[in-house]
Symmetry: C2
Subunit: 502 residues, 2 copies
């Protein structure tokens, strides 16, 4: 019919760092998102949805003097030659939304958003170029109560998705305390244009403490570090004495929150910025204590700094504390699955006025992997469908009406739609993990009956009954009933399995 082009056969494949998810994995994600959504709603956050891509400059992906977006994002040009970028997080679109609609917003704005983000980075094991984030942010609140609430929300989220207390910890710190320490050792001073870069290098070095250990971080704080592959990362260029002060700061955690704060207070000395950070940490610690969140759930921890440059005060992250055995038999941890902090400058980019804001972000794919590894994956209660076989193609309508009756009774059901015979149809039902196959063969039609094959019982029995003849003659896992009793009988059979094994 259609004229054939010269045969051009594209290869069916996905670009690296992308993936398909099917069936139970999608349901596990849906179930997790539903739980998180319900919790965020109960906190008074309202949902926002923004588009997948925006103007690159509105997402902050333009340096003042660059004519194409900086790296790390997927970008393309619109008809009018303006650059568009796929969002790389949900915070930049929020800042744009707030700036664009500022006057009409109820402030403080409490919003949540869930959705995929895209990073144009090198993918690796468990590292994808598309992944789902779930964020909550409060925009327009300068109060530490807003930050403390984020910490509580993160702790509550972990328990809402099924993690037992003790399997997670929310670690809390404050950028101003670190800045106070840096101020004391002279890193923050001076008109040197490299000071900001140096500060970011220090942040990123500390952020790698988990992965590289103290010695690796010392190298990154000093001259630099050569990794296993031989690549050299330039360091922050601190002196040995400066390095030891920074290391003492990262090492000041442990014990009661009050004790940690006292240690930090000593380290910042008379730095005004550092003391401001201490006051903020104290406020958060007091609020957490008043609300009943102990150090087993939310602990002040100076080793948490987060790598992002835009945080201005409190920062926090959720670490999963349990170990799992990976496929190679090695013990491993999942580490950070969520994080956040205060970013008072992000809306200022657009408007020139400071709009205080704080928020948090869950890495949904990582959380799913962690729950899966712990055997705690949530799944929507969806049973495998009852399959109605089609043995006589002239009676498809009759089979269809059985499917309809089952569905009307709330039973997930489907008609076999392939072109094969009885044996292949049973095999299909087995592969679908169907609990029951409904069969209406010639004999059944004559008697006005249908046969119900209990595939779960069948599978159990087939491993115990070895005698083929006995099996064929007794057919212990099937029963014939009048067509009118179909729904009642299927319900009875399903009730045996209580939904749990379906």
């Amino acid at each position: 019919m259609a004229k054939k082009q010269k045969t051009f056969r594209p290869k069916a494949r996905l670009p690296k760092g992308l993936r398909d998810q099917f069936g139970i994995n999608v349901r596990a994600e849906q179930a997790l998102l539903a739980r998180v959504r319900a919790l965020f709603e109960s906190y008074g956050f309202d949902p926002l949805e923004t588009s997948a891509f925006e103007y690159a400059d509105a997402l902050g992906k333009f340096l003042p003097d660059a004519d194409r977006p900086n790296e790390g994002v997927f970008s393309f040009q619109d008809e009018d030659k303006q650059w568009l970028s796929l969002r790389y997080d949900l915070t930049a679109p929020l800042a744009r939304y707030v700036a664009q609609n500022y006057d009409g917003l109820v402030k403080p704005l409490r919003r949540y958003q869930a959705g995929p983000v895209w990073r144009n980075e090198k993918p690796g094991p468990g590292r994808f170029r598309e992944f789902v984030q779930f964020d909550a942010d409060t925009v327009g609140s300068p109060l530490m109560a807003a930050d403390a609430e984020m910490v509580m929300l993160l702790a509550d989220t972990m328990e809402a998705i099924g993690l037992p207390r003790g399997d997670y910890i929310v670690r809390v710190n404050n950028r101003k305390v670190l800045n106070g320490v840096l101020e004391r050792i002279g890193v923050l001073y001076g008109d040197d244009p490299d000071v900001e870069i140096k500060r970011l290098t220090v942040l990123r070095a500390i952020d790698k403490l988990d992965r590289l250990g103290p010695d690796g971080v010392r190298l990154l704080l000093g001259k630099g570090r050569k990794d296993e592959s031989g690549d050299f990362t330039k360091g922050a260029g601190l002196s040995d004495e400066q390095i030891e002060t920074v290391m003492a700061f990262t090492d000041a955690g442990g014990g009661r929150n009050g004790d940690v704060i006292a240690r930090l207070e000593a380290l910042v000395g008379d730095s005004a910025m550092g003391r401001e950070g201490i006051t903020e940490l104290q406020e958060i610690a007091d609020l957490l204590m008043a609300a009943g969140y102990g150090e087993d759930r939310a602990a002040i921890d100076p080793s948490v700094v987060r790598g992002l440059g835009y945080y201005t005060g409190p920062v926090f992250e959720v670490e999963l504390t349990f170990e799992i055995t990976n496929d190679d038999g090695q013990l491993m941890r999942f580490g950070s699955v969520a994080s956040g902090g205060r970013y008072d400058g992000l809306v200022e980019r657009f408007k020139g006025i400071e709009v205080p804001a704080t928020g948090c972000s869950l890495g949904v794919s990582r959380l799913l992997a962690a729950l899966e590894a712990k055997g705690l994956a949530l799944v929507d209660q969806v049973s495998a469908p009852v399959v109605v076989l089609v043995l006589d193609k002239t009676r498809v309508g009759a089979s269809q009406s059985m499917v309809r009756d089952l569905r009307a009774a709330g039973i997930r059901a489907e008609l076999y739609l392939g072109g094969s015979g009885m044996k292949a149809q049973i095999k299909y039902a087995d592969k679908r993990a169907s609990p029951i196959a409904v069969i209406e063969g010639e004999d059944e039609v004559a008697k006005g009956e249908v046969t119900l094959k209990d595939l779960i019982l069948g599978a159990q029995l087939s491993s115990s009954i070895k005698d083929n003849k006995e099996w064929r003659e007794d057919q212990p896992a099937q029963v014939s009933v009048k067509r009118g009793d179909l729904v009642a009988e299927v319900k009875k059979m399903l009730a045996r399995y209580d939904g749990s094994s379906l």
Copy 2:
């Protein structure tokens, strides 16, 4: 602290054809997706998620001899210079998924997928460049029962999302019937490389019947048509006689499905292809009748052809039949909100073997707009939050603990996190549409009490009580209770409104 760059202030704006959705609009979409998902699951479809972008050629967006993707999609190059495109529908990714995983799939594969798609087209009123589709497809089934099931699924979907019977109709046709008619009038014959283009032009002309009327379609079937803006669209170049045959075909609908089929049978005459189409239509009509779907829900209608080239047999679309009054006071219809059909060749592109498939796609944004216009929008039952005010900043912890107690009792609640005084806080609660504001002023603290302000009752009374003095003295909409009775009293007050007005 951070060194300021030369001030670069991007404008906070969205590219044309994109939009933000907030609060109730997002919840309405979530509620609709949940209903559709539950229905599709009950039909035995399983969820698939694919990535937002893929190789352009895998999505079919490469002509054999082109070196960049054809128009209509957003495309960009990966590091290795290969072209990637944002998906423009959910069918092309499914075809790629099936081809890539063919041997391991349980066939027929029944999958559903929901998510945004992107079109690089000119946006217009109600026409966006990002919108959400919800698809179901059965891959690997040659049976008309699979197509009939799609028609039933579409009808059931409309009712599941709250549209009354009579407000929608699923219109069903078959491409082979039209091809039979075209064969009879000579349009399908010959080695002319333009035949396929001509066939598509005919399809697209008929697809515009709703919008342009019969005379407009006649022009497009003939020499061509100049639109209001003066743009000329080249026609299919049929003769007057050919045009009248095609028009008679589109006009053959109305009445019982059996009568329509009889009329069509006469039109295709002895075309083998046409007769195959008639047989398929008859099978679908029989299955619909056997399952209890009458012509009021699913009607054979030859004017439905759909514009896409890849359909090979049955095609169908859902039309909303009610009229609404738009903002300009004009009566208007929503027209088509869902569509689908059989596409036996889509996987063949990759594998060289024909894989029969049929499916349908809902335009979620359009459906939402239609439900909204009818006053039928679904919304998740999420009440506006109770707001706990903060009048004394040294007592934030005490206010926070009230919020915690309310949330623990399942009541949506939040702490006021702005920096303003009493009046602004009440105004905030009003803007949030909060049912209750919780106030713990100096007097209350002394007495161990809290004051609950019923903001719904308050709003009602404030319109009836005109006397300011009476209002201030009686404070009829507020009550003070012991702190320990907070949760019980809030529950009592909320019960008055039964959730419905929240």
